[in-house]
Amino acid sequence: MALDTGFIGRRYPPTVPYEVSRAKIAEFADAIGDDNPVYRDVAAAAALGYSDVIAPPTFANIVTLEAAYAVVHDPALGLDWTRVVHGDQRFVYERPLRAGDEITVVVTVESIKTLAGNDMIVLRGDVDTVQGERTVTSYTLLVARAAESVDA
């Protein structure tokens, strides 16, 4: 079933503020095996001009994916989330996230297309500090694969 293109441009309310902590940054850096000291040592971060330890580039996924899933589960949108796969992911950076940032995500439906029975939806996630500073913008392409009856 094709998605309602009337949802293009729809903007969802900001997520509950998420506080970026030194401990979570270190945990994330450990999980991806990156021993760069700018993720753990305030002095190393300061040497590169940062006021506190910074987060690895894809740390934003922690908040953007959750925000995207909330939209995917919006019953009004009518996306069959049991067939949804993450197709593409793009980040556009203003600055690295750093310890002490309090961030929210505002998700906007950027585009909706149906291609060979597959619903394709791009969600833009604006990741801003609660003070209103843009840190990173996420573009997530989700693909709801066509039901088997469509393929036949």
Binding site: I32, G33, L48, Y93
Partner: protein, 143 residues
């Protein structure tokens, strides 16, 4: 690991970035699940992976994306150099329950050096010789 990376003056279009191999085991996936908050069962349960038609447990696509970002910013030195980063999740990284797990190989090539220090890099990200990420490319601001 030093935070000192490549210098803009030493970068030319066509440069190859040294390939790296990253080992991914079930322990890696458990750690990433906890750190990222993505507890989808296909990333840790063999039984559930089979139920949805996968050959075995697979790595989080975003984990593989994070590995490729690690590769990029290790080359650049400063993670803040990354301006734009794109990937397509083309094929899953299947992670068997063995000590060896899976190996992800990442290599990069400088495709353009623009005025002002913006450098475009294309990445090749493979597992068992097959591309797992496609359209993997980044723009970095080097000094």
């Amino acid at each position: 690991m030093s935070a000192v990376g490549v210098r803009l003056a030493d970068v030319t279009a066509g440069d190859e970035i040294a390939p790296q191999i990253y080992r991914v085991t079930r322990e890696t996936l458990v750690r990433y699940a906890g750190a990222s908050g993505d507890f989808n069962v296909i990333h840790w349960s063999h039984r559930h992976a089979l139920e949805v038609g996968l050959p075995d447990v697979i790595a989080h696509g975003n984990f593989t994306m994070a590995l490729a970002a690690r590769y990029l910013v290790t080359w650049a030195g400063d993670p803040g150099a990354l301006q734009e980063y794109n990937v397509r999740f083309a094929r899953p990284v299947v992670v068997p329950d063995t000590d060896e797990g899976a190996s992800v190989e990442i290599s990069g090539r400088v495709v353009e050096v623009k005025d002002g220090g913006l450098v475009r890099v294309d990445l090749a990200v493979t597992c068992e010789g097959l591309k797992v990420l496609t359209q993997a490319r980044a723009t970095l601001a080097l000094r």
